[in-house]
């Protein structure tokens, strides 16, 4: 009997993903003019605080109804179905912008509303996970298992900052890959009965 297969290791996205991964309108989770649309924007910076012009960000979230999308069309987008998925490269200034709707709490979830984020970049051999939370959910954020476990200055790196935007309400979410004000990045593999018990033989019960 053979055990479960071993994972395929990660490799960097490299500098030349521009014609492979970004797609037209990748940051437009909702079309311009959508009622309640917000912009989520920011700058990705390295350990020196310099902008990172060759990063790629992905966002995944529930809709304003608290539901996670289950229908295809995350790239083609019919303009009506909320797909909850965005993919944006940073520009030469290290900036990105996403237009979306605020997520509502997911039924049965103990977490405050948030967007799941993946960071890819040249020079990053294995992507990073983080989350975007919103400041107005004061009570939910205080009860959130992740936010409440972090020192306040680290939790603050996960909370978007309201700021204006030409198209309506906006939030700034900067990502600092390393050093002062480093964004909290997550190890999400620790969950699994599934993996740690089979690979290490001593996982959680």
């Amino acid at each position: 009997m053979t055990g479960p297969p071993e994972p395929t290791p990660s490799q960097t996205v490299g500098p030349f993903f521009a014609f492979g991964l970004p797609f037209d309108g990748g940051g437009d989770v909702v079309p311009p003019g959508t009622a309640g649309a917000i912009s989520l924007h920011g700058t990705v910076r390295d350990g020196n605080g310099a902008p990172v012009p060759d990063a790629l960000l992905e966002f995944w979230q529930a809709g304003p109804d608290g539901r996670l999308p289950t229908r295809g069309g995350s790239m083609a987008r019919d303009g009506r179905t909320f797909t909850g998925f965005a993919r944006v490269p940073t520009d030469r200034a290290g900036d990105y912008t996403v237009r979306t709707l605020r997520p509502a709490p997911v039924a049965g979830s103990t977490e405050a509303p948030h967007l799941a984020v993946t960071v890819f970049a040249r020079g990053l051999l294995f992507h990073l996970f983080t989350r975007v939370y919103f400041p107005n959910h004061t009570e939910a954020n205080a009860a959130d298992p992740l936010l409440s476990s972090l020192p306040p200055e680290r939790a603050a790196t996960l909370i978007a900052v309201p700021d204006g935007w030409f198209g309506g309400p906006g939030y700034r979410f900067d990502i600092r890959m390393q050093g002062a004000g480093e964004t909290v990045f997550l190890d999400l593999t620790g969950d699994g009965a599934q993996r740690s018990s089979t690979i290490d033989g001593a996982g959680p019960a």
């Binding site: 995350s74 979830s109 190890d187």
Partner: protein, 240 residues
């Protein structure tokens, strides 16, 4: 460079065979690897699901990178196929697989690629497809060339195809690179060598497969991909 790679290889391998983000021989990691340890968190309900792609997102021709122009690209035509599996060995069905690569001369169609090798007017180098009921993907393309980069003196990347994969959960997201068997550049390449465990390195290398080869037309390679991280569905009781 080989000395730096050899020294870095003495560090204990990372869980799952993944590279250490702070891998010194790849210079660009120096300012981009986090200095704080990752915060261990239980995946949220959001992270336990994944973006959904479907027939509207991918056209059948997107899987044939030799058909994106009016003419035939130059180079060695190949078929690359395999299955996408989760950590329990179950097929990842109907999920998005994306690839991008250099042309046969080792040149990317990208403004930032300064390698003085020719662009091919008939080759773009990006493709996508959805896995089938069995988790299988299949691309027709051109074997990419090796190319120089500026990491250190006389640095060359072994021929590779970049792959992007989604699983049934956001936690399973993977971007990686597929290599070709027998490449003399493996031990000289800090990106390949950032996977320090030899068995894990083998998992990055496709296998030449004569049954996949199409007579009078294209050489065939098989490469299975196993996604790490907790999946969306509990393990099948029959498999436990």
């Amino acid at each position: 460079m080989t000395a730096a790679i050899r020294e870095a290889a003495t560090a204990p391998p990372q869980r799952g065979g993944h590279p250490d983000r702070a891998y010194a021989p790849y210079r660009s990691t120096a300012l981009r690897a986090p200095s704080q340890p990752l915060v261990v968190a239980s995946p949220s309900l959001v992270e336990r699901t994944a973006p959904v792609f479907g027939a509207a997102d991918v056209a059948p021709i997107d899987a044939d990178l030799t058909q994106h122009s009016t003419g035939e690209p130059l180079g060695e035509r190949i078929v690359v196929t395999g299955r996408v599996l989760d950590a329990a060995g179950r097929p990842v069905r109907h999920q998005l697989v994306e690839v991008w690569q250099a042309n046969a001369a080792g040149r990317y169609r990208h403004d930032g690629d300064l390698h003085p090798a020719p662009l091919d007017p008939h080759f773009v180098g990006g493709g996508r497809c959805l896995t089938d009921d069995d988790g299988r993907y299949r691309f027709v393309t051109i074997k990419p060339g090796a190319y120089p980069w500026r990491n250190h003196h006389n640095a060359w990347r072994p021929a590779h195809i970049h792959f992007s994969l989604f699983g049934t959960a956001f936690t399973q997201r993977l971007v990686t690179q597929m290599y070709f068997p027998g490449d003399q550049l493996f031990a000289l390449d800090p990106i390949f060598s950032s996977v320090t465990d030899e068995k894990a390195q083998q998992r990055l290398i496709a296998r030449y497969d004569h049954d996949t080869t199409v007579a009078e037309w294209a050489l065939g390679y098989q490469w299975d991909i196993v996604l790490d991280g907790p999946g969306a569905t509990p393990p099948d009781p029959d498999e436990v």
